[in-house]
Amino acid sequence: MDTETTMTLEAFADTFVPGEKRSPDDIAIAGAAPGPGAVAAGALELLQTPATGVSSSLDDLVAALNDHAIEYGDEQGLTLDPAVPPFVALSYEHRTALMSTLMGPDHPEKESWILPALFCFMAFDTAAHLDTVGAIKDGHPGLTAMGYAKPDADGLWRFPEYTYGRQLSRAHPRTTSSGDPA
C-alpha cells in the first residue's frame, strides 16, 4: 500500500473513531479526540482483510474519496495542501462534513461509504481482525477503552456474580398464570 493510500485510509478511519496524533507532525490522524482511535485499533488491517469483501476495492475508495475532497474543497473555497492527499488536507470538521454528506440517506454512493466505515468502527469496538482473547491480553485500544471485561483462564466469559437478587418491580396486573401478557 503506498503512502497516499495509507494516509487517506487513516484519515478516513480516523473520522469515525478519532484518535490522538502519533507525533506532532501527524497529518492523517487529525487529533480530534484523546486516546487511540480506529487507526491505532487496526482499522487498516481490518480493511485489508479479504473476508470483509472491501479489501479489493480500497484503491477505488481512496481515489473516489480524494476526488470528493477536491470537489468539496472547491465548494467550500478551501485551499488544500498539495503535499498530502486531498482528503487528508481537510480539517477534521471538514472530513466529518464530507462523510456525513456522502453517507447521507439520499446520497447515491451512500452504501459504498457506509460499508468501509462500519469496518473502521468494528476495528475499534470488536477488533474483528484479531482473536478477541489475544486482543484483550495485548491491550487492544478499543476493547480496553470500552472496559470490555476479561475472560476466564480458558478464554471463555463467565459472570458468577450477576444479579441484584431481589424483586425490583411489580408485574403487570393482567399477567396470565403462565407468565404471559393477557
Binding site: V17, A51, L118, G142, M146, E161, R170, G179, A182
Partner: protein, 554 residues
C-alpha cells in the same frame, strides 16, 4: 429413492431448519415420512461456538446481516436457524394482536386463530423446548436496573418466560454466537436431534434457489455453499418431493418463491409483500452510576452500582404497560432490556446530546468509553407491514458482500406515519423512564445508516382469509400451489408487540395436522401424533380437541 432419470426423491422436502423447518421435520419424520431438510448455513455443534469477534468465528459463521433499502434483517444462518442465535425470550402474543387490522381494513389473522385457539400449540412448544419461568435470582444486573427504573417511574415490569436453563447459564452474553454451555434451548437440543433419530436427513450448506415441477413432483434446485466463503458455490443439485415445506425465514422464503414463479406459475399477491419488522427499534442510555445508587438504591456486592452492560443473557425484563388492547393500534409496544454485543450493538447507537452526526466522531467515542454503563432498550411495536421485496438477486436472498454475514438484499421498507408514531411514542416513554431524576441520558439508534432494522422479520408470505392480502390459507398452504406449505416467520400476519419465536413455533405445530393430511392425499404413509421430542405427551393430549378442525386423522 431416485426417479427413472436419476433425480433424487423424498416424500417431504423442508427448506430451512429454524423453528418452521425443525418442527415440521420432526413431526413428519416421526410420523413415518421420508424427510430431507436443506439448510443453507453450516451445521455447527455447540463445542464450536466461539467467544470471539474475529471474522470467521461463529459470530459470523452462523449470523447474517442483510441490508435492504430502508430495512436491514438480522438472523441466523445455520442448522437450527434463528434458534441458535436468538435470545430465547418466549412470551405468548397478547390477545389483541390477533384482532389487528393493520392497513387492510379487516382482521389480518385468519378467523380460525386467536389466542385461545393458539394456546394449546403454545403449550406444545413450551413442553418441547422447554420453556422456563424466571425468578428474580435469575435476573442479571441490566434487567434489574430496567425493572428498578420502571418501578421508580410508576411502571410495571415483568420477567418474561425464556427457553434458557438458567442453572447452566454463565451470563456470558455471547448467545448471538451460539450458546457454548447448552443453557439456551435451541433447536439443536430438541426438535432437530429428534427428527434425525426418526430418520430425517439434515443437509447443511445446501441453499435452495427455486422450486419447479417435474412429473407431478416438486423439484428443488439447490447450490452447495462453501463452508468458509459463503459467496462461493461448489456445486448444485436437485431434490424431488411430493410436499415442500418452505421455512427459510421471512427474509428468504419469499425470494425463493418469487424466483420459482416463472416455472410454478403466478404466485399469490402476498408473496414478498406485507413484510413486517415487528416494529423494532432500539434506544441506548448512558447510565449515571451515582444516580443508580442514590435514586434506585442499587448496589453490587463489590460496591459498584451498575457498570454491568456486558453481564447477562439478552433480554430478561420487559415493560408491558403499553401491551394493552385498550390502546389504539400503532400505540402499543413492549419495552425490553436487551444486550447486543459490540459491533452490532454499538455502531448505530447515537451519543445523547451530540449535534450533527451522532453515531460517529468524538462524542460517540466518549460514549464508548462508558460502554459498561450502557443500558439498551428494545422496542417491539406495531408497524404497518410496509416491506416489499424487489426482484430476486442472482442467488440466495442477497448479494453477499463479505465472506460471511454481510449481504445486500432487495427488501424495500418505508415506514408509514403510523409506524413512526409508534416509534416516537415508545422513544418518549423510554426517555421518561430513564431520564427521570437524572438516571441516564438516552437516545434512539440512527436509522440513517442501514435503515430500520429487525431481528424478527415477519409476514412476507402470510396466512389469512383474504386471498388479496395473504399468500397462505389458514393451514399455511400456498394459495394456488397445493402441496407447498410455509411455516416460518413469514407466515405470521403482522407485528406482535412481543418476541415472535414462540408464536412462529406454535403456528408450525398447529400446521402439522394439515400437512399430514395433504401428504396422505399424495400417497405418503405418514400419521400425526408424535409426542414432544423428549417423549413428553401432556401437551399433545391437551391439543387433541383442536385436531378435528385442522383435518388430522386421529
Amino acid at each position: 429413492m431416485t426417479s427413472m432419470n436419476g433425480h433424487e426423491r423424498t416424500d417431504i422436502a423442508v427448506i430451512g431448519s429454524g423453528f418452521g423447518g425443525a418442527i415440521t421435520a420432526y413431526h413428519l419424520a416421526a410420523g413415518g415420512a421420508k424427510v430431507v431438510v436443506l439448510e443453507r448455513g453450516p451445521w455447527v455443534p455447540s463445542d464450536e461456538f466461539d467467544h470471539d469477534f474475529k471474522l470467521g468465528t461463529s459470530s459470523t459463521r452462523i449470523f447474517d446481516f442483510v441490508a435492504g433499502d430502508g430495512m436491514s434483517i438480522l438472523g441466523g444462518n445455520c442448522v437450527g436457524g434463528g434458534s441458535v442465535v436468538y435470545f430465547a425470550t418466549m412470551p405468548r402474543a397478547p390477545r389483541f394482536t390477533f384482532e389487528r387490522q393493520g392497513s387492510i381494513g379487516r382482521r389480518m389473522w385468519p378467523a380460525a386463530i386467536n389466542r385461545d385457539a393458539l394456546d394449546p400449540w403454545y403449550d406444545r412448544v413450551a413442553e418441547a423446548l422447554p420453556i422456563y419461568r424466571q425468578s428474580w435470582d435469575d435476573v442479571p444486573y441490566p434487567g434489574g436496573l430496567w425493572a428498578a427504573a420502571c418501578d421508580h417511574a410508576g411502571r410495571t415490569a415483568n420477567l418474561p418466560n425464556v427457553a434458557i436453563d438458567t442453572s447452566l447459564c454463565t451470563n456470558c452474553n455471547w448467545m448471538m454466537a451460539g450458546c457454548k454451555f447448552d443453557a439456551k434451548r435451541s433447536l439443536l437440543l430438541n426438535y432437530l436431534p429428534a427428527a434425525v433419530s426418526h430418520g430425517a436427513q439434515i443437509r447443511p450448506l445446501h441453499e435452495v434457489q427455486k422450486i419447479s415441477k417435474a412429473d407431478g413432483w416438486y423439484r428443488l434446485h439447490y447450490n452447495l455453499i462453501d463452508d468458509e466463503d459463503y459467496r462461493v458455490s461448489t456445486g448444485s443439485g436437485t431434490l424431488d418431493a411430493k410436499i415442500v415445506i418452505v421455512a427459510a425465514g421471512a427474509g428468504a422464503t419469499p425470494v425463493i418463491l418469487q424466483r420459482s414463479e416463472a416455472e410454478l406459475g403466478t404466485m399469490p399477491h402476498g408473496v414478498g409483500r406485507y413484510f413486517s419488522g415487528n416494529g423494532e427499534r432500539l434506544n441506548t442510555a448512558i447510565i449515571d452510576e451515582d444516580k443508580v445508587r442514590e435514586v434506585l438504591g442499587l448496589q453490587r456486592p463489590d460496591g459498584r452500582a451498575y457498570a454491568a452492560n456486558q453481564i447477562g443473557r439478552g433480554p430478561t425484563v420487559v415493560c408491558w404497560d403499553h401491551v394493552d388492547g385498550a390502546l389504539p393500534e400503532h400505540s402499543r409496544f413492549a419495552l425490553e432490556q436487551l444486550y447486543f454485543p459490540p459491533g452490532l450493538g454499538t455502531i448505530l447507537a447515537q451519543a445523547p446530546g451530540a449535534e450533527g452526526a451522532a453515531w460517529f466522531g468524538p462524542r460517540k467515542k466518549e460514549m464508548l468509553r462508558h460502554f459498561q454503563s450502557w443500558l439498551t432498550i428494545f422496542i417491539l411495536s406495531e408497524d404497518n407491514n410496509e416491506g416489499v421485496f424487489g426482484p430476486p438477486p442472482p442467488t440466495g436472498n442477497a448479494v453477499r458482500i463479505s465472506q460471511q454475514m454481510l449481504g445486500r438484499g432487495n427488501l424495500s421498507y418505508e415506514p408509514s406515519k403510523q409506524t413512526l408514531h409508534g416509534w416516537a411514542a415508545a422513544d418518549a416513554e423510554i426517555k421518561d423512564i430513564l431520564e427521570r431524576d437524572g438516571l441516564a441520558r438516552v437516545r434512539p439508534w440512527t436509522n440513517d445508516v442501514v435503515g430500520a432494522y429487525t431481528v424478527h422479520p415477519l409476514s412476507s408470505c402470510r396466512i389469512g382469509d383474504d386471498p388479496a392480502t395473504s399468500a397462505l390459507d389458514d393451514r399455511h398452504e400456498l394459495r394456488g400451489h397445493p402441496g407447498i406449505f410455509v411455516t416460518d416467520g413469514s407466515a405470521v400476519p403482522g407485528a406482535l408487540t412481543v418476541n415472535p419465536a414462540l408464536t412462529i413455533a406454535a403456528l408450525a405445530e398447529r400446521a402439522i395436522p394439515g400437512i399430514v393430511q395433504a401428504a396422505r392425499e399424495r400417497g405418503i404413509e405418514v400419521t400425526y401424533g408424535a409426542p414432544a421430542p423428549d417423549g413428553a405427551s401432556s401437551a399433545r393430549r391437551a391439543a387433541r380437541p383442536a385436531l378435528a378442525s385442522l383435518g388430522a386423522r386421529q
